[in-house]
Symmetry: C2
Subunit: 443 residues, 2 copies
């Protein structure tokens, strides 16, 4: 790779061209990320052979795409736009500023422009927004041999030839045949004899997470997408789903850590954007923690009388927060994987109750002896032990319950992780601790 | 689906058989999960036609697989074992108790038994452990037409026919051809003329996470796997990678929430196993939080003099914990996605420093006024504001730095999330808070 950059700096274009021909598209795209100047980017791009230029283009980051488009002539832009797969073209157009979009669409042929505009109208994260319209459809009356001819004709422009769709005159799906079925069939068999009529599909407005669950369940390579009138309008391929899964995971993780989700890579996001993404929940949390603080002032007399009580606050709050986030994580993940459904509410609650009894009994025995030995006061040990039991039970109950409640309210369970749970748990932990301390120690 | 269960209860086997034939394999597998008795499970399984029985079997949970195997005759076990794809057979054998494994392997033909035993020796989570050995390889001298004949012959036994591998007499890979290339080529072209010689591959001992990164980068359908002597020994397909991605993500999430990872679904895991998975870190945390508590006792004089100081502890600890987990989450995810690499250490540290300045300035202004208004004491407000700045800066620094440090020490960055970070942050937050309070308020 460094060799290529050296050749570029030395302007050995002939050699460079030959080297590029041996490389995989994804590797070529990676070279662009190492380049320093817009000039180098444009020069390298222009060295690519026609048949890989659009493919490499679809692998590039938006900033490089913009640099390249701005440097190309209208005719060259048109060539790329007409070579891109429609779903890649849509992704690209979505990332560009308005003036670039205008120029790009002006240089796209009518048919593709209409398709791009159509796909842009589907809601974000819907099957329609991630599908491509380049698939192969055939009629059931034709023979396997005729099917192969049609596939050969259309293969270059189709995102996949793995699955071929059988449609009627109104473009409704009647069946699917895999390329494997076609190869194994006799050349004169009719498609209707070998097609599989039990077709699993999704609609254009189906959420992309639901689409990825279908892939996970059925081990598909390709899923057909139909519109409101049940016509086949596109396909989603498994490599798109891999992107969706990664993106949805990252989003869930960020929500659970109280960060507003984003799709930009960490290092490419400015400090101010990072700060904006994090400040909302942090402000919410400092203010709600102040409420916990205000409640504590009711117990001032108790901790002035026995200052040692204060030193257990970090341990109780920490334990509550951790138990809550353990339960929340497991339940949120279970809901996302479809292992837990809404009707399991009582099973989850009962399981968390049993777990919290087991966990808290270990914690309370260990801490009872630690406190007793350290302070020489079994009563103080008892206060801590009892508080731990209450804190663990309540926090696992809240941690396990809130994500399910969120799902019931049609909210994303992931937002229930850190922020709201920790606030609730902290508050309840402190109150129960001081109530137990006051009554046992007679304060 | 309920209809099928009713038919099963009414013993309408003829009708049931017909209904099963129209269903997708994954849907049939789902019906088994609804069945109550082992008898029903076995009866339903025996109703499946021969060509789908093994496929359905590979979709079932281990407990159902065990029930079925125990009820089948040796000859029936043999039929299933020889129909299963090798990677599915390996998964199944790994989940069974020793006595079942013994019987199963006894009823597997010599060739498959050797393959299963070979695959079982690869380390867990390696490419070797997730690959399958059923691929199609051809020689470069043959024509496209001959290749199609070979594919037709072997298609039924190959996990995918999407990619065909070209090997030499020593089984080393020389190139790949996609089924699309073959279909688009002329029938009398030689394979050597159309094959792609720039083959990306992984080794049997490559980690499965690395394999999934290759799929993500290159948008592959199939990746060839070679052994130490560079011979092609298997392939990994994209649907296996989808499973790997989901599994690795769940594992990261659990580690980050201080839970020992597991692969079992939430509801199928017993309360005692759940408790075991959670207790280790909770114990570690209560004990380390006790250390924070012990440190607090040095400042007893301060909070007996001004009890209001105690009421800010939850807010400062909470803010520190949240800032730390935000940074840690972003950095851990960035490392996992390959957006951040080891050499970016200083860039991450500098970015987190800028972010923490921005975030803490907002938090400190807001809280300064809240405290001032509530307690009528600007000095107390100043203590809280300064403490917040210190806590936010330190916790973002620790949160962003520890995962990279873990990676440097060849540990999984994800274990650095919750437990260790929160302990460190809590401790530092409390100490800086009381030091600042003591010096400003002159305690």
């Amino acid at each position: 790779m460094e060799n290529i950059i050296t050749q570029l700096e030395n302007k050995n274009f002939q050699e460079l061209k030959q080297m590029l021909e041996t490389l995989n598209i994804a590797d070529i795209a990676q070279i662009f990320e190492q380049l320093e100047t817009p000039q180098q980017i444009v020069v390298l791009f222009k060295l690519l052979s026609k048949d890989v230029a659009a493919d490499v283009f679809s692998f590039l980051d938006p900033e490089f795409q913009e640099t390249i488009i701005n440097a190309l002539k209208d005719k060259e832009v048109a060539a790329i736009m007409n070579d891109l797969y429609i779903d890649d073209a849509v992704d690209f157009v979505q990332e560009m500023p308005a003036n670039v979009v205008k120029r790009v669409l002006k240089n796209t042929n009518q048919e593709n422009r209409d398709l791009i505009n159509k796909l842009l109208t589907y809601p974000e994260n819907s099957a329609g927004s991630i599908m491509t319209t380049e698939f192969i459809d055939i009629k059931q009356e034709i023979s396997v041999d005729q099917a192969f001819k049609k596939i050969k004709q259309k293969a270059a422009d189709s995102e996949t030839i793995d699955t071929i769709f059988v449609t009627d005159s109104k473009r409704k799906i009647q069946g699917v045949v895999s390329i494997r079925d076609l190869i194994m069939a006799d050349r004169d068999e009719k498609i209707s004899e070998i097609m599989n009529t039990n077709v699993i599909f999704a609609c254009t407005h189906t959420d992309q997470e639901e689409v990825s669950r279908l892939f996970d369940k059925y081990d598909f390579q390709t899923l057909p997408i139909i519109d409101n009138e049940e016509r086949l309008v596109g396909i989603v391929t498994v490599d798109d789903v891999l992107d969706v899964v990664t993106q949805e995971f990252t989003e869930d993780l960020e929500k659970m850590a109280a960060i507003s989700p984003t799709e930009d890579p960490y290092l490419k996001t400015s400090a101010i954007t990072h700060a904006k993404k994090r400040i909302f929940w942090l402000l919410f949390l400092t203010i709600s923690a102040s409420i916990t603080g205000a409640i504590m002032s009711f117990f001032e007399a108790a901790f002035v009388a026995i200052p040692a009580l204060v030193t257990f606050i970090p341990m109780l709050m920490g334990t509550g927060g951790n138990c809550g986030s353990q339960s929340a994580t497991l339940v949120i993940r279970g809901l996302a994987l479809g292992e837990i459904s809404m009707k399991d509410y009582f099973r989850v609650a009962f399981k968390e109750f049993k777990v919290s009894l087991l966990v808290s009994s270990v914690l309370c025995v260990v801490n009872f002896f630690i406190v007793w030995l350290r302070y020489g006061d079994p009563l103080l040990g008892l206060v801590i032990a009892l508080s731990l039991i209450i804190v663990v039970i309540i926090s696992e109950f809240i941690g396990g319950g809130l994500p399910i409640l969120a799902k019931k309210c049609k909210l994303d369970p992931a937002i229930m992780a850190a922020p709201i749970i920790s606030t609730l748990v902290d508050c309840i932990a402190i109150v129960s601790y001081f109530l137990i301390a006051s009554s046992i120690l007679g304060l």
